[in-house]
């Protein structure tokens, strides 16, 4: 009866030793390799800092202009351009310009990293079922594990700062681009691929001439999702020393500043909506040939 009532667990001492073992071996690893790993990420840090400084040093009218031009290039919609510029005017007017630029910097850099790592992994997964079997559970873990859990080893390894923040953002934001690249390539019609094969296409011609172009709408949906997830990590990243809109949000949580929290929160929302609309419109335009209404 006693056996059934209480789960046969490890004894408390054993468990403590077990955990201690993991902790101590990881801190050993940290003290041995921490510096090397840190210096490995140095170029990334420099780039991030440089980009943030660049955004902050650029005169605000120029930034507004760039925002407008980018929105236009992506969406070809006057409404979205006006909305984007107005949102940034409001952000500046309410004194959140500097934090917004920092957030913009980290989200842009994180997105670039995710794209440059994620798309090749997605291609690899589409090509080999072994790669798919390896990466799928990894992506599941990355998407579901609470962010705070992987913050612990990252901070132990790299300390507090921009780079661990960036890594945390990337861990969270990487899965969608990988998954959707894989999916997009796997969804390319068999007929199109068979035709390519029948004409003697080699792997490179097949990948870049047929698979990626046809998967582009899905890949773009992945990029869109990656940006959204990167933005949603801004607050958590600010806990480990990343500057930006997350910092005031965090401050207002601990001090119960309703207005401050709301304003900065809404600024994040505004950024998210702008990025989302612009990339979605761009993705839609990539698919126009499917509906047969493109005359250029």
């Amino acid at each position: 009866m006693d056996f059934l009532g209480k789960f046969p667990a490890m004894s408390r001492g054993e468990l403590r030793d077990f955990k201690k073992g993991i902790d101590s071996s990881f801190s050993e690893f940290t003290s041995e390799h921490g510096e090397a790993i840190e210096s490995f990420f140095d170029p990334l840090l420099h780039f991030l800092v440089w980009f943030e400084k660049l955004l902050l040093a650029t005169p605000w009218p120029l930034i507004l202009l760039i925002i407008g031009v980018f929105s236009w290039l992506g969406s070809r919609s006057v409404k979205i351009v006006i909305g984007a510029v107005l949102a940034f005017v409001a952000i500046g007017y309410f004194g959140m310009w500097k934090d917004t630029m920092s957030t913009l910097a980290i989200v842009s850099v994180a997105t670039l990293i995710c794209i440059s790592i994620g798309i090749p992994i997605g291609i690899l997964m589409a090509r080999s079922k072994y790669a798919q079997a390896f990466f799928t559970p990894l992506l599941d873990v990355m998407q579901t594990i609470p962010a705070f859990v992987y913050l612990i080893p990252v901070v132990m390894l790299l300390g507090i700062g921009k780079v661990p923040g960036l890594i945390a953002v990337c861990i969270y934001a990487l899965p969608p681009i990988v998954r959707l690249t894989n999916l997009g390539i796997r969804l390319v019609s068999k007929e199109a691929l068979e035709a390519a094969d029948a004409f003697g296409t080699n792997y490179r011609q097949r990948l870049f001439g047929v698979q990626i172009p046809l998967a582009l709408p899905n890949i773009f949906a992945g990029i869109n999702q990656t940006i959204m997830m990167a933005l949603s990590m801004v607050v958590i990243a600010s806990m480990i020393g990343v500057a930006g809109l997350g910092v005031p949000v965090l401050r207002s949580i601990s001090n119960q500043y309703l207005a401050l929290g709301l304003l900065n929160g809404l600024a994040i929302v505004a950024l998210a909506i702008i990025f989302d609309r612009v990339t979605q419109q761009y993705g839609k335009r990539l698919q126009k040939h499917r509906h047969g209404d493109l005359h250029e």
């Binding site: 007929e191 199109a192 068979e194 035709a195 390519a196 094969d197 029948a198 004409f199 003697g200 296409t201 080699n202 011609q205 001439g209 047929v210 172009p213 046809l214 582009l216 040939h289 499917r290 509906h291 047969g292 209404d293 493109l294 250029e296």
Partner: protein, 359 residues
């Protein structure tokens, strides 16, 4: 361009689907039936002991209903599907021993393919699609477009260069497919139910385009279809495939007049015989009369009114050199037009042999 040159020679070709397919071929060769192979060994037979010589510069039709293995067979010719056993030689070159690189070059220059569902690249314009084969050969897109534009014009797509496939009707999309295949200048053209997805009228149109092109180009065309009328219309020779086996090969006239098997009799039931059978196939050789002369390729339907008009109800048949080689009378024509059941009585042993084979 000798008439008897063999372009593609397929010998003892087997395709079995499953993990132990090689072993299954041995079973098949030892006389295990396809049904047993499925029941006992869980392997599906796609093709069984295919032997066929496809002549150069002609249209060879492979016909069969769905599931007969015809699409599988045509994909063996350019090795989109690997056979389980057998050999495929194209102009004496063994396709199966080619390395990956050689096979790619072979596909780029020697065989082109047209697909039932077109297989166009929807993200490319019509001109880019037509130029595709040349780009894959290594040409720049600009030059490939230039060089392939004559084919685009030839199939009647002038003015649609910058359209996307989705903006075109099915018939026009298949013209793109045809132009793309022609642009590579490959001698062998594989057409996998190329016109089956099209409306009957458009299909006839496309057949005309193909026949027209063929008069000029003399390509070696392997044409897959499930449509007997289409086979009879365009085929210089026809092979009939059933459950992965070829059950008859011959000219369209042979198939109609001397069906080997009850299955084929069923198949040709609904054919308009008057429109297919040529007088050379039914004439009395060497017999001639005083009367009008007609060319040997004339079909029964067209000769009938002429015979009725003629005084002796009989006309002479001439060859290409305008020499009289025989004659036909009303009775011959009438009995040839009648249903194949009557024809089959002339061929007493086929009903017997086929009834044992049909299970």
């Amino acid at each position: 361009m000798s008439k008897n040159e063999i372009a593609i020679s397929i010998k003892g070709l087997y395709k079995v689907f499953g993990n132990r397919s090689k072993k299954m071929v041995t079973h098949l060769k030892n006389g295990v039936s396809k049904a047993d192979l499925l029941d006992k060994y869980h392997h599906v037979v796609g093709l069984k002991d295919i032997n066929i010589d496809i002549p150069a510069h002609q249209i060879s039709v492979i016909m069969g209903l769905s599931g007969s293995g015809k699409s599988t067979l045509i994909r063996h010719i350019n090795r989109l599907i690997e056979p389980t056993a057998g050999s495929i030689d194209i102009y004496g070159e063994n396709v199966l021993s080619m390395s990956k690189g050689t096979l790619r070059e072979f596909r780029r220059h020697k065989v082109a393919m047209v697909f039932q569902k077109f297989g166009l690249h929807v993200h490319k314009t019509v001109a880019e699609n037509v130029a595709y084969g040349l780009v894959i050969q290594g040409m720049s897109l600009k030059k490939a477009k230039q060089k392939s534009s004559k084919w685009l014009i030839r199939v009647g797509l002038e003015g649609f260069e910058n359209h996307y496939p989705s903006q075109l009707s099915g018939g026009m999309q298949q013209r793109v497919g045809l132009a793309r295949a022609l642009a590579t200048d490959a001698d062998i053209l594989l057409m996998d139910e190329a016109f089956s997805a099209l409306d009957p009228l458009i299909r006839t149109d496309m057949q005309d385009i193909l026949l027209n092109l063929q008069q000029e180009l003399h390509k070696t065309i392997v044409f897959i279809t499930h449509d007997l009328d289409e086979a009879l219309r365009i085929g210089d020779s026809i092979a009939i495939l059933r459950d992965g086996e070829i059950i008859q090969q011959g000219s369209p006239q042979d198939i109609i007049l001397k069906p080997d098997d009850e299955y084929i009799v069923d198949f040709i039931q609904d054919v308009n015989r008057g429109r297919v059978i040529q007088i050379k196939s039914v004439m009395d050789k060497g017999v001639s009369i005083e009367g009008p002369n007609f060319h040997q390729n004339m079909v029964l339907e067209d000769i009938l009114p002429e015979i009725v008009k003629s005084t002796q109800q009989m006309v002479n048949v001439t060859n290409d050199q305008n020499q009289v080689i025989g004659s036909v009378d009303l009775k011959t024509v009438a009995s040839a037009i009648a249903k194949p059941v009557i024809q089959s009585n002339n061929n007493a042993n086929y009903t017997q042999s086929s009834s044992t084979e049909l299970t």
